[in-house]
């Protein structure tokens, strides 16, 4: 038995309500048959234990479309989020995605728009499963019994929330809710180096898989939009109807879309879907490994859940690794 700050399951909506007095609070909720993050309002049912939201919570930091600058009569204004906000009820996998994005966007030269949004945000994770080593975030509410969640605080922001009277100190003997993972994908990405080597090797030595996937992939970009940490973007300008206001905005882009690597004049450095799909893998599993020492995948399986062509990246990766190990028996893990 140990003493811990805990919150009763029934009080979790009250916590969101309490926070909404001071912050904009966004919670997972059901809208039009889909689970999405949206603003908390009284009466909104906060979903606990959901598998995935339609779009990951990266939308709060790298939104599908965000204004960077507004120019009115020649005066340039940088757009900044002024009001602190709370993303409440984040899935542990999505949190891992945000933690990696922090590293990517924070790397010098850093992305000030992303960092500003992160500075204004408090991340509250609710986990129905045992957390293990917390990847980051401000506060994690970990399920310890059918009626209670334990507060794991990681930052002063998180500690301030856990000190609210809605929490109580209780002697607990935490019941274990073993995680539903590791899935095969979780297991594979643990060995980042093997994955990176295998994917790099496959381009020339097992190209039939990319031929096959190039024909399957319809180049819609959905896998990248639902990914908790894909971050391809394009900056574009918009002008108001009377041309008095210009807005420079940043939009999600996707390296699997046909024109992504096309330059002015029309030359395309990745002219076929085969190359574009391979590049998606290459970025996640090879370039990311070289740049940050880890693969840019959190094994959430969102991409395969939403892929209209039914591409299952777990199976793809499994096939590549198995072929690579067949050809390189010394690389058996």
């Amino acid at each position: 038995m140990t003493a811990a700050r805990v919150i009763e399951k029934e009080k979790i909506p009250k916590l969101a309500q309490e926070l909404s007095k001071r912050f904009d609070v966004f919670v997972p909720q059901k809208k039009d048959q889909e689970i999405v993050f949206d603003r908390f309002e009284n009466g909104v049912k906060i979903l606990l234990g959901y598998k995935t939201t339609l779009l990951p919570p990266k939308i709060f930091f790298l939104s599908p479309e965000e204004d960077l600058f507004r120019v009115t009569n020649g005066r340039v204004r940088e757009i900044k989020i002024e009001k602190p906000f709370v993303v409440f009820g984040i899935h542990l996998k999505d949190l891992s995605g945000i933690v990696q994005l922090d590293q990517i966007m924070g790397k010098t030269p850093a992305d000030p728009f992303y960092l500003n949004r992160r500075k204004m945000a408090t991340l509250v994770v609710i986990s129905e499963e045992e957390v293990g080593v917390p990847p980051g975030g401000d506060l994690i509410l970990e399920k310890i019994s059918e009626g209670y969640y334990r507060a794991i605080t990681l930052t002063p922001k998180g500690r301030r929330i856990a000190m609210l009277p809605l929490f109580e100190v209780k002697n607990i003997s935490a019941k274990k809710y073993p995680p539903s993972y590791p899935t095969k994908l979780d297991q594979m990405i643990v060995d980042s180096e093997l994955v990176a080597q295998a994917v790099e090797w496959s381009r020339q030595n097992y190209s039939q898989i990319w031929e096959r996937l190039g024909k399957l992939c319809i180049g819609c970009g959905i896998c990248t939009y639902v990914c908790p940490l894909c971050y391809c973007t394009t900056i574009e300008d918009k002008t108001s109807f009377d041309q008095s206001i210009c807005t420079r905005c940043r939009k999600w882009d996707a390296c699997t879309l046909p024109g992504f690597a096309q330059i002015a004049g029309g030359y395309n450095f990745r002219p076929s879907q085969k190359e574009r799909y391979f590049n998606w893998f290459y970025h996640k599993f090879v370039r990311a490994y070289y740049e940050f020492g880890q693969v840019q995948c959190v094994a959430c399986h969102h991409c395969q859940l939403y892929c209209p062509a039914g591409i299952n990246i777990e199976k793809v990766l499994e096939e590549i690794i198995s072929q690579f190990q067949k050809a390189n028996p010394e690389r058996k893990s």
Binding site: V71, V76, P109, P112, T233, F260, E275
Partner: protein, 274 residues
């Protein structure tokens, strides 16, 4: 924290038609001067900027002026897309935006004390022009210097009014595919002019910037001269959008052209599939 996305305002102080679809823009900062980097240069030849116009966007351009000139920078704008078409509509005295310089530039200290072969084609010449201006300003630091420049017709050769000044300090070798009747230079590929070059291959570096086919020509020029791939520096062209290694548009293999490049050792990028 510096916001790299926030461009500075610059004024167009000179506009010049360089060919039927390329204009030279001379851009003056709103402050008196552009700041110097740690090498006392405004930029390193080979570095690029993102120039643009509010309401239309930004596009990448290699800087073409002398890096020792603090009062202005120059870019050559080929009318080829939305941004460049909008830029072509501007006039002297108009304002536009600029951010950068970005990327690495040619390794000037590595070039010092060596013979230099510069190879370019068409509208790939701007960064090479900046490099030539630097070499001429520091002429004693370099050995024999050759410019091999090819274009479709004589009218497509850019920076024509600079050649006579350049020729006082370096050897300028020009070639066109389709000559006009008054053309006195070479007709054909620049690679056919290798015989005119006298260098010590073991003490030579090469800088190159040009469209894709140029790279092939490069192999035909520099390999026969005995210059190793390691000492050939190519400028890669990609769709740089953010300029700071985030947006992913400019990747080639495991490199980002905007931060690791745009200048690469030839052997670093020659095998890349993209």
């Amino acid at each position: 924290m510096k916001n790299h996305f926030h461009p500075q305002k610059v004024k167009i102080t000179k506009l010049k038609d360089m060919s039927s679809d390329v204009k030279l823009f001379r851009l003056k900062p709103m402050a008196e001067k552009f700041p110097l980097n740690k090498d006392d240069l405004v930029f390193i030849p080979g570095q690029f900027v993102l120039a643009g116009l509010w309401g239309y966007g930004e596009a990448p351009f290699g800087l073409a002026s002398s890096p020792l000139e603090q009062g202005f920078v120059e870019i050559a704008v080929r009318k080829v897309g939305t941004v460049t078409t909008a830029l072509h509509r501007l006039e002297e005295g108009n304002e536009m935006t600029l951010r950068g310089p970005y990327g690495n530039g040619y390794p000037l200290d590595f070039f010092a004390g060596k013979d230099v072969v510069l190879v370019t084609g068409g509208c790939g010449i701007p960064p090479i022009a900046a490099l030539i201006e630097y070499i001429i300003a520091k002429r004693d630091r370099f050995g024999r210097v050759y410019l091999l420049y090819g274009a479709l017709t004589p009218k497509d050769l850019l920076f024509r009014e600079h050649y006579s000044a350049w020729e006082k300090s370096i050897r300028v070798i020009l070639a066109v595919d389709k000559p006009t009747p008054d053309w006195k230079g070479h007709v054909g590929l620049v690679s056919e002019l290798v015989k005119d070059i006298k260098i010590n291959p073991r003490n030579t570096v090469a800088a190159m910037c040009g469209p894709g086919p140029m790279t092939k020509a490069l192999e035909n020029i520099l390999r026969p001269l005995g210059v190793s791939d390691r000492r050939i520096f190519v400028s890669e062209e990609r769709r740089m959008n953010c300029g700071i290694g985030k947006c992913q548009h400019c990747t080639t293999g495991d490199k980002y052209v905007c931060i690791d490049g745009p200048i690469f050792n030839y052997d670093e990028v020659q095998g890349n599939w993209d």
